[in-house]
């Protein structure tokens, strides 16, 4: 089961694959630990010795700049040795199976895998089959989960809003294909947000989306009412070619966040986006760069949150003790 797989016998984090099965106290522990790391980037010496001598391999089967870079920075700031592999263009394209790739790297005395893969369940699969001493951090698998992104979003929300219990959060855009949205919804529900509202046309919502614990709106003007936190999702270009949407311009007209639309939400609402942004498609530049936007804060918080997760997953190996 997902929850057992992620925790060791003492209930501590071993792998970080999904928010599912993790309770509020553990999520809060991640946020608190991240808090303690948050100042490190501004210090003269940006390093903690917690993972000294540990080897972390970033396995990216799918391209990513931001996520990979922040994971690399997080690992180096914890003094670990880091190796980043872009597998999308190497081993598996030669026909090597996922399992063989993992086995090969295992034999190089790795302590942790950070995995991004375009297939849902890939990180679970690796965690199930890798050597028992190795921790696996999911850096995004298919359309399933992106738990570190969700936690850095929670961290950012907590920084500004302090408490989750009164918050109404809107997630807008391509929920269907979004691993970020799935993890955010789980995290917000676990942390006790008052309401999570997904706003999208039916073509971009998964079947029975309400079973995830959200309310649903197909109209941005109505959906933004009383909202404290606005999370915009990236719209991939291929959604137009697969007939999920007629055009970028029509999407922007209906679901794009403009200054005018932003006024419907609460006056102190914050605007978030996991990036990369499509300016003029899901969000207007004036909003993305405006005073209510915390998009760049999210990016810098990504390092502290990933440091927290990595050090917690290595706890049993002596980190944080």
């Amino acid at each position: 089961m997902a929850d057992n797989l992620q925790l060791n016998s003492e209930g501590k984090l071993k792998h970080f694959l999904t928010i599912e099965g993790l309770d509020k106290s553990l999520l809060t522990e991640i946020l608190d630990t991240a808090e303690s790391f948050a100042g490190v980037s501004e210090q003269q010496v940006k390093k903690y010795p917690l993972l000294r001598g540990k080897t972390i391999v970033n396995l990216f089967f799918e391209n990513s700049t931001r996520t990979r870079t922040t994971f690399e920075l997080a690992a180096t700031r914890l003094s670990a040795d880091v190796l980043s592999m872009n597998i999308a263009t190497s081993a598996t394209s030669k026909g090597e199976s996922l399992l063989d790739t993992i086995r090969n790297l295992e034999s190089m005395f790795v302590d942790m895998f950070v995995v991004r893969h375009n297939i849902s369940g890939a990180a679970h699969f690796i965690a199930q089959h890798t050597a028992p001493h190795i921790s696996v951090i999911n850096a995004g698998d298919g359309q399933h989960a992106h738990p570190t992104q969700a936690m850095l979003d929670m961290f950012t929300i907590r920084q500004i809003k302090q408490d989750f219990s009164h918050l109404r959060v809107a997630i807008i855009g391509d929920i269907l294909h979004s691993r970020v949205a799935r993890s955010q919804i789980l995290a917000l529900n676990t942390l006790g947000a008052a309401e999570i509202r997904v706003i999208a046309p039916k073509t971009l919502l998964p079947a029975h989306v309400e079973t995830l614990g959200v309310t649903v709106s197909h109209n941005l003007n109505e959906g933004l009412k009383d909202i404290d936190v606005i999370i915009m999702l990236r719209l991939q270009k291929e959604r137009m070619t697969s007939a999920l949407l007629p055009s970028e311009s029509e999407y922007f007209k209906c679901f794009g966040l403009t200054e005018e639309k932003l006024k419907i939400a609460k006056p102190d609402a914050i605007v978030m986006h996991p990036g990369p942004i499509n300016r003029g498609v899901e969000i207007d530049s004036k909003v993305a760069d405006g005073p209510q936007s915390v998009i760049l804060k999210q990016v810098s918080n990504g390092i502290a949150v990933r440091m927290a997760v990595m050090s917690m997953a290595m706890q049993r190996q002596g980190a944080l003790s």
């Binding site: 893969h117 297939i119 849902s120 369940g121 029975h208 995830l212």
Partner: protein, 433 residues
């Protein structure tokens, strides 16, 4: 040939409306008599069936034995032994072998392989179209003459309805049964899980129920247009049951089956990303399962198939969407049928009929009954015997079953095919000694 008396078991033969304790008498490979001892019958062998059930051998409408072409997964040898140990004496082989069963040569190869393996009676299903691509018709008449029992589309959707229409007209001209697994190409494209709560939570490419029901509705229309006899296989959804019910009421000559696992498992049972549960059609909801059970009990669904699909370990070793669909199911067929009876979804007679009399009717075989003169295909099972699904008890080369490690109730003790004992549990497990 030898004379056998299967003695003092509870004989359940739905086709002949028998449910009585007594003996079955076999000589020269055929059933000679049931209950009444023929004059001067001197058996060479008496099988003691006390406290056991004697019924016709099971007939399975959908299996894959992986030969020719994929013997790394399974072979006729391994799978027909598994079939025999599960009481299955006749099985239909889906045409998606490598190469596809679309020429008489492949059909004959299959018959040869079956004969060499020497256990179950194997009936190949011919591909409806060449290479199952849905573009050109296969040589259906030649395939029929080479021993194919029906034509079918295996798991391949037929995209072009005109081709399907022509194929059905042609099949009807030669009095061939169409065994159709309804699945719309576009709606089901690349999906690996039911479009429901599970797929939504885990972000899996999904298949709506409508992918099945739309293709089913189209095929029903064409059945009326063409007069082709159609059997719908491996139904998974509530609305499929409703459609079939309406079609039968309306008077169409159609029948339907359901895979045994669909009567037991739903999307709620899938452990996150456990590829053992990756099947097509996908496991659907509790409501679908209830409709399928009621459809079976009420006769809308005629029969149960195993939809046996053994795999090698590598095929199931990967992230869920990347693994191959299918379960190895022959050996869990009987215990799962008995579970349906224990749960009062169907009666024991209905369960046996769904595995014997009904599939024989669909295939128009002189089989599936203990009628004197019929080939002595007989299954003897102990409904109370429990066994664990593990390496010691498993015959199929495919260990891809979600029931692995579980203890199930009900086990076949003897299987006879054409009067020959092809499985005897006592010999291997010390049973009954």
């Amino acid at each position: 040939m030898s004379r056998i008396q299967i003695s003092q078991g509870r004989i359940i033969d739905p086709a002949n409306k028998i449910d009585h304790v007594g003996s079955v008498y076999i000589a020269d490979g055929k059933i000679v008599s049931v209950l009444n001892e023929p004059d001067g019958f001197r058996p060479d062998r008496v099988i003691d069936a006390r406290n056991q059930i004697i019924c016709p051998g099971f007939i399975d409408l959908s299996t894959r034995l992986r030969e020719p072409g994929q013997s790394r997964k399974a072979t006729f040898a391994s799978e027909t032994v598994a079939a025999a140990s599960a009481g299955v004496t006749t099985l239909c082989l889906q045409p998606d072998t490598v190469p596809v069963i679309d020429t008489p040569a492949v059909a004959e190869l299959v018959k040869d392989l079956a004969e060499k393996a020497g256990y179950a009676q194997i009936h190949p299903i011919a591909a409806l179209s060449q290479k199952l691509e849905g573009n050109e018709l296969s040589n259906m008449l030649s395939l029929k003459q080479a021993g194919c029992i029906a034509v079918g589309n295996a798991n391949q959707p037929v995209k072009n309805l005109l081709i399907l229409r022509r194929a059905m007209e042609y099949a009807a001209s030669h009095d061939l049964l169409l065994m159709f697994r309804p699945n719309d190409y576009w709606l089901g494209h690349k999906g690996c899980a039911h479009e429901g709560v599970f797929a939504t939570r885990y972000g899996l490419p999904s298949i709506p129920e409508a992918a099945e029901t739309i293709a089913l509705a189209q095929c029903l229309e064409l059945a009326e247009l063409t007069g082709c006899r159609v059997h719908f296989g491996q139904l998974s959804g509530k609305r499929s049951v409703i459609r079939i019910h309406q079609a039968k009421k309306y008077g169409l000559d159609v029948s339907a089956d359901v895979a045994m696992h669909q009567l037991h498992l739903t999307e709620n049972d899938i452990a996150p990303f456990d590829s053992a549960y990756h099947v097509l059609p996908p496991l659907r909801t509790e409501e679908d399962k209830e409709y399928l059970r009621q459809g079976l009990a009420g006769g809308t669904i005629n029969s149960i198939c195993s939809d046996h699909q053994p795999h090698d370990l590598d095929a199931k070793l990967g992230a869920f969407p990347e693994t191959e669909p299918g379960m190895s199911t022959l050996e869990t067929l009987l215990p799962l049928m008995l579970t349906l009876v224990a749960q009062r979804a169907i009666t024991l007679t209905q369960g046996i009929a769904a595995l014997t009399e009904k599939p024989a009717q669909i295939l128009r075989l002189r089989n599936g009954a203990l009628t004197p003169g019929f080939a002595a295909d007989v299954c003897v099972f102990d409904p109370e015997l429990t066994w664990q699904v593990n390496q010691d008890n498993w015959k199929s080369q495919g260990v891809n079953t979600p029931f692995w490690g579980q203890t199930l109730k009900g086990r076949v003790t003897h299987t006879l095919q054409g009067g020959r004992i092809i499985h005897e549990l006592a010999q291997e497990a010390g049973y009954g000694k």
